[in-house]
């Protein structure tokens, strides 16, 4: 009991506020990703895109959300009710969980009751940060699998099977490409990997091939074109979420956009220097402007980098047609895995040679 009372309750409150703000920020970003997706699609196809709801159509996501909420909720009679509801919940949950280990900025500083407090802008700086991400990401396949299976519909099941095997296949090269990175950094901790890039070279310069493999796998993990076979609207009738309606469908679609945001953030943190402001000496700058302004600048930098990656995701989606299933598997198992292994061996040799 005394332990509980002696606990730093301020710490708990700080973390709660941080969690709530990061979750709501990623929800808002996911909302505006749907808007951006339609706008980017329109601009690439010489159209105008949504421009009716509000100035420049900025309220379009709100209108879409309202529409999804107001739709009739249909649960098929033959479906397994519990799993049918669990599917979208899991998809959403796993999408949100990954953001816990990503450093969004350095720290903010304020004085409370005459006491200096520093709040790190990373929810949990755990030792196994990257392993945690992998664990949560591979949970994401359950959302697809359970949803498709519980619908009790052969097309949904087919699509879910395709999705599951795709995600599992592409997790392997993703992991292998990161092993090469980990051999260089020597830590699984996100803040350490991030800190090495601060005012130094970005990891993408040491690991261009690793980054490329990771990028391709991120497309596959997020079920984005050219690897959106689980959805495959014109062959499988929207695939695993065919039987879903109303906000449960909304959750699936939303989870995809959150995944896109989070995987962009992971890529930025691991390979593109995270919140480091490029061409600026951060340690010098922080002495001049203080922690709070620095945190704001760093958060902004991170956001810009992430936004560029999200644009890349969309740009690729509206350029490349979907892969055929055998092409997808060929690319994964015969292309990316050997490439990742090669990258790993070369990195290992170089690391060994440099240490000697």
């Amino acid at each position: 009991m005394m332990h509980l009372l002696a606990m730093d309750w301020g710490f708990v409150v700080e973390k709660m506020i941080l969690i709530i703000s990061i979750v709501s920020i990623s929800l808002v970003i996911a909302m505006y990703e749907t808007y951006a997706e339609r706008k980017v699609a329109a601009i690439i196809q010489d159209r105008r895109g949504p421009n009716r709801a509000g100035p420049f159509g900025l309220f379009q996501p709100l209108a879409d959300g309202l529409k999804l909420f107001m739709k009739e909720e249909i649960i098929p009679n033959t479906s397994n009710k519990m799993l049918f509801v669990l599917g979208p919940c899991l998809a959403m949950l796993t999408a949100m969980m990954t953001s816990a280990v990503i450093p969004w900025g350095d720290r903010i500083h304020f004085t409370l009751f005459g006491q200096d407090r520093y709040v790190s802008l990373q929810i949990a700086d755990i030792n196994i940060g990257i392993l945690y991400i992998f664990g949560v990401v591979s949970m994401g396949v359950y959302g697809i699998m359970i949803g498709g299976w519980a619908s009790n519909n052969k097309f949904s099941l087919l699509a879910a099977m395709r999705g599951a095997s795709q995600v599992i296949s592409y997790e392997l090269p993703m992991g292998l490409s990161l092993i090469a990175l980990l051999m260089m950094t020597g830590s699984l901790k996100m803040s350490v990997i991030m800190g090495q890039q601060l005012d130094g070279w970005y990891n993408v310069l040491y690991q261009p091939l690793g980054f490329f493999i990771f990028l391709v796998c991120a497309f596959a993990e997020c079920n984005r074109t050219p690897f959106d076979l689980p959805e495959a609207e014109n062959e499988l009738n929207f695939g695993y979420h065919q039987e879903y309606s109303s906000m449960k469908l909304g959750f699936y679609l939303f989870a995809e956009y959150i995944n896109m945001f989070i995987s962009s953030a992971v890529m930025v943190t691991l390979f593109w220097g995270g919140y480091d402001i490029p061409f600026v000496n951060d340690t010098e700058l922080v002495k001049n402007i203080g922690y709070n302004w620095m945190a704001l600048l760093q958060g902004g930098t991170m956001f810009i980098k992430v936004a560029l990656f999200i644009f890349l995701f969309m740009w690729v989606r509206w350029t490349i047609p979907r892969f055929r299933y055998d092409q997808l598997m060929n690319l994964g198992w015969k292309g990316l895995i050997p490439l990742a292994l090669l990258n790993m061996v070369i990195t290992a040799a170089v690391v060994l040679w440099l240490k000697k």
Binding site: I43, I44, D46, R47, R48, N51, W315, W318, T319
Partner: protein, 177 residues
């Protein structure tokens, strides 16, 4: 015949072709938009555009139609029905000649907007205007009666009259053919 050559090494890498495709879509970002913001902006009509019919009046606002039935005969879709009536004393300001159409209906769902009614009319009574894309909630709403078809009165409502007349009816008859 499409020749299916095995992919070359560069093609099997996918990357080069993907880059080329991305460059193409990137260039499209800066191109002129093909779409317009429709209700605010409208595309110009061709001078021979054929829209919904209007029943014309003369300069004093009298109806031109004499219910001769030539338009109904000419109509290939059989969309036009009418009933004639005799002009009474004191109705001279309403109808130009002794006979007029008491009922004049065009079924817009049947109409194919060919313009043969306009060509058949000896009295310049029917024109195809520039109004298009009518919308309604019910089928019976597409059967346009006289109150839908008649042009606004040129004396009491000259602005609407001009608008309804459009560019097409303003031209002399010989130019229209």
């Amino acid at each position: 015949m499409v020749e299916r050559k095995p992919m070359t090494w560069v093609e099997r890498l996918y990357m080069w072709n993907i880059m080329k495709g991305m460059w193409i879509t990137f260039r499209h970002i800066f191109k002129k938009k093909a779409t317009i913001s429709y209700p605010e902006q409208k595309r110009p009509f061709s001078p021979v555009f054929r829209g919904l019919q209007i029943l014309n009046r003369d300069e004093e606002g009298r109806e031109n139609c004499t219910a001769c039935g030539l338009c109904a005969v000419a109509c290939p879709a059989e969309a036009i029905t009418m009933e004639g009536a005799e002009r009474k004393k004191g109705e001279e300001h309403l109808y130009r000649e002794e006979k007029y159409a008491a009922k004049y209906e065009i079924n817009m769902l049947r109409c194919i907007f060919c313009g043969l009614c306009e060509e058949a009319c000896p009295k310049d009574a029917i024109y195809l205007s520039e109004t298009f894309a009518p919308s309604n909630y019910q089928r019976k709403g597409f059967i346009y009666g006289k109150d839908d078809l008649l042009i606004p009165h040129p004396k009491t409502n000259p602005v609407e009259y001009k608008k309804a007349l459009g560019n097409r009816a303003n031209k002399p008859q010989h130019e229209q053919q």
